[in-house]
């Protein structure tokens, strides 16, 4: 079982969700994050409009899903296709192993819980 964590553009969340549902991946969660990478930040006013500061950290969305090993490639592909714009700032996907998965309602374990 693998955990797929995708940092994507917030404006792409709806497309990514749709793409995941289309390939049968219906379990995931996402949260707003702030961070920075290659994409340049923005200038924001520090107060009244007289001075600005550079806010290099930008809002992104972190989408997390845990899937079976054999679904990994299709999920990653779906995310990339729906989230990619071609510009710097499209994000990154991290894949890691998951030790155990348990469904709260029934106690099902591992592959049965996915």
């Amino acid at each position: 079982m693998v955990k797929i964590e995708a940092i994507i553009r917030p404006e792409r969340v709806n497309q990514v969700v749709q793409a995941l549902e289309d390939i049968g991946c219906k379990g995931f969660h996402f949260v707003n994050v702030t961070g920075q990478g290659q994409q340049q930040g923005v200038e924001v006013f520090t107060g009244r409009g007289a001075t600005t500061t550079s806010r290099s950290s930008l809002p992104k969305t972190l989408l997390v899903t845990v899937v079976k090993d054999d679904q990994k490639d299709s999920v990653v592909e779906a995310i990339i296709e729906s989230a990619r714009s071609g510009n710097i700032g499209d994000g990154k996907i991290f894949v890691s192993s998951v030790g155990e998965v348990i469904r709260v309602r029934t106690g099902d374990r591992n592959e049965d819980a996915l």
């Binding site: 200038e43 924001v44 006013f45 520090t46 107060g47 009244r48 409009g49 007289a50 001075t51 600005t52 500061t53 806010r55």
Partner: protein, 404 residues
């Protein structure tokens, strides 16, 4: 007693009352989220404390006859409003006047809190309110409106440019000077919509502040209403344009601040100037206060919410501009544009006297409070880091961390 005048004064009082909660949010939106409740509390506690002080000794010190001290301060003959009957009137009910003036007394120390935010001890603040209203606000109010020496001199202050704004502005400088800088000042306002809504409520309330100061439902009040709006709009637009030229963008906070600066500047002038004067005053406020923000910041003084740049500089410009643009046909006194240069000089005296008295006495009050064991001015370093909302009030402005 004229029911129209009394009704207007009462309504105007309620308008001005609303300005203090409006200020609470105008300031609240500008600080970091962890200090939002505290910032709002500073304004609200002013309402609570000053309301009581005013009807006990605040009003009488400001407006009653001080006997031998009449040039400087009133007396205590009307302590607890004793002797003011429900029939007492000057066209409008005197009790309505007490209420109206109370709202001015409430908002003035609340203005100062803009320099105190994110690090001032709330317990010390409550004591400060009591001392400041008694020793600074009441005397200055008496000088200008209570039959004191500035009104003898002929200083023009229609609705409180000196009494409220220059007063609060210089007191803020004294406070920021003693308090020291915030340890990790925030970089962005936590809630821009609060700032704009707060400014809008201030603008709304200011119609009561300025037009109400005529103490009559008449043509001068109506003129004051119009010039108030004109100056606010001009200053807001000016600030936006200057920001656009300087930074390539105009922000909502800037435009809202510009409006407030314009409102501050027109305050002493509202019943004395016409439309062209209002346009000029708004333009001047938008430019002067804009650059004053940066200027004050460059001195290293942490006047956190630019109280002196907006209320101090705005009030000083407004006071001088009143002497320049006053039109005799409107308010009874001619200004520089009608050939009377002496009024500008008188305005300078009023400005200087307020700056000196308020600055020094506020400094002394705060220094004494700092030295009293158990009080002190600043919250502890850990309190400041956690945020005053939790450390001083046990509250959070909003709970968005997943807790139920």
């Amino acid at each position: 007693m004229d029911s129209g005048h009394t009704a207007w004064v009462l309504v105007a009082s309620a308008f001005v009352f609303l300005m203090t909660p409006g200020l609470a949010f105008f300031y609240g939106g500008l600080v970091r989220a962890k200090n939002l409740v505290n910032t709002i509390m500073l304004s609200f506690m002013s309402i609570a404390v000053v309301s009581i002080i005013w009807v006990l000794w605040g009003y009488t010190l400001s407006f009653s006859d001080g006997g031998p001290l009449q040039r400087w301060v009133g007396g205590l003959s009307e302590f607890g409003l004793s002797g003011i009957s429900t029939d007492a009137n000057d066209g409008y009910s005197i009790l309505a006047f007490v209420a109206f003036q109370m709202m001015f007394a409430i908002i003035t120390p609340a203005l100062i809190t803009g320099a105190l935010v994110e690090r001032f001890k709330i317990s010390t603040y409550l004591v400060f309110l009591l001392l400041w209203i008694t020793l600074v606000y009441a005397p200055i109010c008496h000088w200008v409106w209570g039959g004191g020496w500035l009104s003898d001199l002929g200083a023009l202050d229609f609705a409180g440019g000196t009494v409220i704004h220059i007063n609060a502005g210089v007191a803020a400088v004294a406070a920021a000077f003693l308090l020291g800088k915030r340890r990790n000042p925030g970089r962005q306002p936590n809630n821009v919509p609060y700032v704009v809504l707060g400014a809008a409520i201030l603008w709304f309330g200011w119609f009561g502040f300025n037009a109400g100061s005529q103490l009559a439902a008449d043509g001068i009040a109506s003129s004051a209403f119009l010039v108030t709006n004109t100056a606010a709009a001009t200053a807001a637009l000016t600030w936006g344009v200057v920001s656009q030229i300087k930074n390539g963008k105009m922000g909502a906070v800037g435009v809202a601040t510009g409006a407030v600066a314009g409102l501050v500047a027109i305050t002493p002038a509202a019943g004395f100037v016409g439309i062209y004067g209002a346009l000029a005053i708004g333009l001047g406020a938008g430019v002067l206060c804009f650059f004053a923000v940066d200027l004050i910041n460059s001195t290293g003084l942490d006047d956190a919410l630019d109280v002196f740049a907006v209320h101090g500089i705005g009030g000083i410009w407004g006071a001088i501009a009143t002497g320049i643009f006053a039109v005799e046909a409107i308010g009874g006194t001619a200004g520089l544009i009608e050939g009377n240069w002496e009024q500008v000089l008188i305005q300078f005296y009023a400005v200087a006297a307020t700056l000196v008295y308020s600055g020094i006495v506020t400094l002394v009050i705060l220094k004494i409070l700092d030295l009293i064991p158990g009080l002190g001015l600043r919250a502890s370093e850990s309190d400041e880091n956690i945020g005053l909302d939790i450390s001083q009030h046990g509250e959070q402005a909003s709970v968005d961390d997943g807790a139920d």
